[in-house]
């Protein structure tokens, strides 16, 4: 197991390097001169050259890249072109916000998805089952940012129950977390349902019923255990997608997290910000995927990584 983890971690390094090179190159390949962005368009040629020299843009690209990566390894992502603020500390501040939003969304979505999925499977073809399945089809067709705008209109603007946007208490968290988790909840519910239905059709379930076990025991002790293994994997993978979705939702609700930071960075051509966030997000997804694989191995005794 330990060797497997080490191997997976080592495999992440080349991927991260490729991502970092791509992210780095785009500063130098896209139109828009960083010096002009930082100091304005009207600076004269002499100052321009001096600034280029001072900021190190005249060095060969590989030298710049190595210098940049050296700083990154030490946790320094440089300063924002626009605000001159330290990117690392800004990321640190915003990471907490995104983490809180994503975690709360994930927790409610998983719990709700599991409960609803189990009930749907057990009470198959019931009214609830039909409603849930219809909703889960609808949920993948509704852009979550638009759902956010709708809810904002109803609960914040019309009814005034919740604040429209920004960060503050739990009340600020309710709408973004609901919207962000809604799609995941629907997917988890659907997946749990189909997985449990499949398991309930297995021979050993019939055997358990045949030997006189009561239905509740069969479902919770025999079926659920096995049915949940693929659900765990799927749910884990959803976490990555949830963070992707958070980008739009954070912008909708003006949530000061990493997602809105990234979008602002792209729109403002604030390259150090974009560069840092692309690498950070990549690291995050690779980490989540690794965790999912490990959980899967832990839950399913048939799989043993060596």
């Amino acid at each position: 197991m330990a060797t497997y983890i080490v191997r997976r971690l080592l495999q992440m390094i080349p991927i991260l390097l490729i991502v970092s090179i791509l992210a780095f190159l785009f500063v130098h390949l896209t139109p828009g001169d960083p010096i002009r962005i930082m100091y304005g368009i009207e600076i004269d040629q002499d100052t321009y050259q001096q600034l280029r020299e001072r900021e190190g843009f005249n060095d060969p690209l590989p030298v710049q890249y190595v210098r940049y990566m050296g700083n990154v390894v030490r946790g320094d992502f440089g300063v924002s072109y626009r605000t001159r603020a330290n990117v690392s500390s800004e990321i640190g501040r915003r990471f907490i916000n995104t983490f809180v939003l994503a975690s709360v969304s994930m927790i409610w979505a998983t719990l709700a998805g599991l409960v609803v999925g189990i009930i749907s499977a057990v009470k198959r073809n019931s009214l609830l089952d039909r409603v849930v399945m219809t909703l889960s089809v609808a949920s993948i067709s509704i852009p979550s940012f638009w759902l956010g705008l709708l809810l904002m209109q109803v609960f914040a603007v019309r009814l005034g129950w919740l604040p429209t946007s920004g960060i503050g208490g739990i009340r600020h968290l309710i709408m973004p977390a609901f919207v962000l988790g809604a799609t995941v909840a629907a997917i988890v519910a659907r997946f749990t349902r189909s997985s449990l239905l499949e398991t309930l059709g297995e021979d050993y379930i019939r055997t358990a019923r045949a030997k006189g076990q009561i239905r509740r025991n069969v479902i919770f002790k025999h079926a659920l255990r096995n049915a949940l293994i693929p659900v765990v994997t799927m749910t884990g993978l959803q976490f990555g997608f949830l963070i992707g979705g958070a980008i739009a939702i954070e912008t909708v609700f003006s949530w000061p997290g990493l997602g809105s930071y990234l979008i602002d960075g792209i729109i403002n051509r604030d390259y150090p910000v974009v560069q840092a966030l692309i690498m950070l997000f990549s690291l995050q997804f690779l980490g989540v995927n690794l965790l999912v694989d490990l959980t899967y191995a832990y839950l399913n005794p048939q799989i043993r990584y060596s």
């Binding site: 785009f26 089809v137 852009p143 638009w146 990555g240 963070i243 992707g244």
Partner: protein, 551 residues
């Protein structure tokens, strides 16, 4: 869900999916149509036509495509320009007014109601809301901006305050526009109790004479607006406040205390000969009337103006300059630049479908080719391609697309490219596994054994076998691609935010979502309908083409 049970029923026999493949191949080899009773296409049509939802979705998509093609011809308004300049006279009549004429007459002391002979003084309390102008027979108010204000109309001592609202909707709860007060009798003798007739004009043109009904309207208005203490006209002179029936509070202001006295309970008693002036304030509106008392007043050569009467007090103005609500003229209303949203949604179909189709087809072409190569050749090239696609698949589509936009810069072409990039690994993966199973079919082996070249085998023999999978995923991915395209342009990464594109429209509506809702609602509904149609069609195709292929 009916579909579900049908799906279940079909998955019992896995045969049809497999039969499709050799059938296709026969046709490829020029097998005669007549000798072959089994047609995979007919079989598919038969199965597909059983699925109601998918059929509906199919026709919905057909309509959407037709709309996209014909959009520039069928739009009622130019989607890029303010609609105000595009109105015909008919349209204007339909829309509701942004200008009203309120008829205006004098009530004289001899009891007659006559046309005014002099132009009244007209003053708008807030010229940013309403502009008002008077003529001898009417007061003209023109809407400037959304809001509410008072227009004072006066002639000598007689004054009326009119409340005028400018809304974005014609369908608004009526409010009290004017309080018309007339002395009940022509002349009063000293010591006589004076009764004033009070009428309430509502903004929908209704005139209320019953005081309790007026009270109800005032109460509704107060509920709606909270405790608003803006009042048209300051109360002057002696003030007496009365409460009638627990709700209707009238404030009287007495300006000539020698002539009239007002009791605590609101009764007005004529005290002495002369012309008294009373201000009646009700529901935030005040009216000043003159009350002649005594025989001297009777003997006056010319009757004086005691009060005003109004006609056509539909003081409900509509702000025509932006954010018009949905109406029969603008089905979806107008946006912050007063452009017709319905036209913009129709035209936006083009760009949305372009993003959906082009990006997915691009991604599918590349992904399928790579998938066929990986699946057919296997070995090192396979593991390399699989590894690369696994890395790409580890990232959520939106983030991958955003990263591509970050590198390429905002713009529609770049959005198409960004969506295509994350479509590639999906197709690579499914085509690869499909190709791997088809590769081992006997007919492929046969082709190999007679020395057919690799690329011929791949495109003539393996590709048709994977085609059903490709078609199903193609349909399903278009929905996702449309959503991601909308998200990107909503986030402002689509370049031109003024373009009639659904995501960009939502982005523009975002800043005004606090006040108006229809600019957010309709483009979003358009996205949902389109994506839902593609997803349902994809589901239906999956069930019809390959019952084994399930999530």
């Amino acid at each position: 869900m009916k579909n579900k049970s049908e799906k279940q029923a079909k998955s019992v026999s896995p045969l049809p999916g497999e039969r499709t493949t050799p059938g296709d191949d026969h046709r490829e080899n020029g097998g005669g149509e007549k000798e072959k009773p089994y047609s995979p296409f007919k079989d598919f049509v038969k199965k597909f036509s059983k699925q109601k939802m998918a059929l509906i979705a199919f026709f919905a998509i057909a309509i959407i495509i037709v709309v996209a093609i014909l959009a520039p011809i069928i739009v009622p308004f130019d989607p890029t320009v303010d609609v105000l300049s595009q109105y015909s006279q008919e349209d204007q009549d339909q829309l509701g007014d942004n200008r009203i004429n309120i008829g205006y007459q004098w009530v004289l002391s001899d009891g007659s109601v006559v046309e005014a002979t002099r132009v009244p003084m007209v003053d708008s309390g807030n010229r940013r809301v309403v502009n008002a102008r008077g003529s001898a027979d009417s007061i003209t108010a023109t809407a400037v901006n959304e809001g509410e204000t008072f227009v004072a109309v006066s002639h000598e001592n007689v004054t009326n305050y009119l409340r005028i609202v400018v809304t974005q909707s014609q369908f608004y709860r009526p409010i009290l526009t004017a309080v018309e007060v007339t002395p009940g009798k022509d002349y009063f003798a000293p010591g006589e109790e004076i009764t004033l007739e009070i009428k309430g004009h509502l903004s929908d043109g209704e005139v209320l004479e019953d005081r309790s009904e007026i009270a109800r309207v005032i109460e509704e208005m107060e509920e709606l607006q909270g405790s608003q203490d803006t009042t048209g006209g300051r109360i002057v002179g002696q003030q007496v406040e009365t409460v009638e029936e627990g709700v209707l509070g009238i404030i009287f202001g007495n300006m000539d205390e020698e002539i009239l006295t007002i009791e605590e309970d609101g009764r007005i008693i004529a005290a002495q000969e002369g012309v008294g002036t009373v201000q009646v304030s009700l529901g935030g509106l005040s009216t000043v009337v003159q009350i002649p008392v005594g025989p001297t007043a009777l003997g006056q050569a010319e009757p004086i103006v005691t009060a005003f009467q109004f006609q056509e007090t539909e003081a409900q103005l509509v702000d025509l300059y932006k954010h018009q609500p949905p109406s029969t003229l603008h089905f979806f209303g107008t946006d912050h630049q007063n452009r017709d949203i319905f036209s913009r949604v129709l035209v936006g179909t083009r760009q949305t479908l372009t993003i959906g189709f082009v990006s997915v087809i691009l991604g599918a072409l590349l992904g399928t080719t790579l998938g066929l190569i990986a699946g057919y050749y296997g070995g090192r090239i396979d593991s390399l391609l699989t590894r690369a696609s696994d890395v790409l698949l580890a990232f959520p589509g939106v983030l991958l697309a955003i990263a591509v936009i970050a590198i390429l810069g905002p713009g529609i072409i770049n959005i198409i490219f960004a969506v295509a990039v994350f479509t590639v690994p999906i197709f690579l993966r499914i085509v690869r596994s499909s190709a791997m199973s088809v590769k081992n079919m006997t007919y492929v082996e046969a082709a190999k054994s007679i020395g057919v070249k690799d690329y011929v085998i791949i495109f003539r023999h393996i590709l048709p076998g994977t085609l059903s999978v490709i078609i199903v995923y193609l349909t399903m991915r278009i929905g996702t691609a449309i959503i991601i395209g909308a998200v990107l342009s909503y986030l402002g990464l689509g370049g031109d935010i003024t373009a009639p594109e659904w995501g960009a429209m939502l982005n523009a509506a975002k800043d005004n979502s606090r006040n108006v809702f229809h600019p957010t609602l309709f483009p979003g509904l358009a996205i949902v309908m389109t994506v839902l149609a593609f997803n349902l069609l994809g589901d239906g195709l999956r069930d019809a083409l390959d019952p084994k292929l399930k999530d």
